[in-house]
Amino acid sequence: MSAQMVLFAVLATLSVVTAILVVVHRNPVRSALSLVCNLIVLAVLYLTLSAQFVAAIQIIVYAGAIMVLFLFTVMLLNLGAPEALRETGRVQGVVGVALGLSFLAAILGAGTISAGLGPSAATEESLRTGGTAEAIGRHMFEPGLPWHFAFELTSVLLLVGIVGAVVLAKRRL
């Protein structure tokens, strides 16, 4: 087993364990902290996939901005106390886990995972420079590619998000 494989096994185990902790914890604050761990482990996984820029964005946007929003809302609504909500029924939990396992079996049994992907088209060049900020920026604004259209749409989406958040936060317009 190569060193990369060992690293992947450790990271995969960590990410699955922290993801399960997000679901299992009754206290939303603990769920949020487990989610932060999960997001950081995923950022390291992106690094092993030679996607440096995406890993940095993952930490800044997810582990930074989105998690602050979550924690802020939990504390604003004072949901930190576990007894604030009724407990989940045992039957619901069992049925949910059973459905989840059958769902996992379905997506593992169908499509490319069971059939295999074939030989990789990755080259030394694409692995070394494929994930830098420069490569992504050049690709995003390259003429003839649709990505700058998506970029502009994203700016409109974020504007709508800002306006929507302000409207929702106001008690009365």
Partner: protein
């Protein structure tokens, strides 16, 4: 030759996505449900990046960047809705707000 096969990343992504789906069906707290949706989005992002590396193409990472932007907007709006619902009825149990009216 890739050091770790892409299929392993896809299996990990499927497992993480399943945990997110299970969380959405089991949990009652809408904030935790949102966290599980983030888990699912991250699982899909992981498979995008892994497949992008597999095919030696950067488009997978481009998609991930836009997914993250959409997720950020979605969380801002969703948590705003949760706060608005909480203001109206002092409770955010997901079973009590099954109707989109009051």
């Amino acid at each position: 030759m890739l050091p770790v096969r892409t299929e392993y990343y896809l299996v990990l992504s499927a497992i993480l996505f399943t945990i997110g789906v299970t969380g959405v069906t089991v949990k009652r707290n809408p904030i935790v449900i949102f966290m599980c949706i983030e888990l699912m989005l991250n699982a899909v992002n992981l498979s995008f990046v892994a497949l992008g590396r597999h095919f030696g193409h950067i488009d997978g990472q481009m998609t991930v960047i836009f997914v993250m932007a959409v997720a950020a907007a979605e969380v801002a709006i969703g948590l705003g809705i949760i706060v608005a619902i909480f203001r109206q009825r002092e409770s955010i149990d997901i079973d009590e707000v099954a109707l989109l009216r009051h």
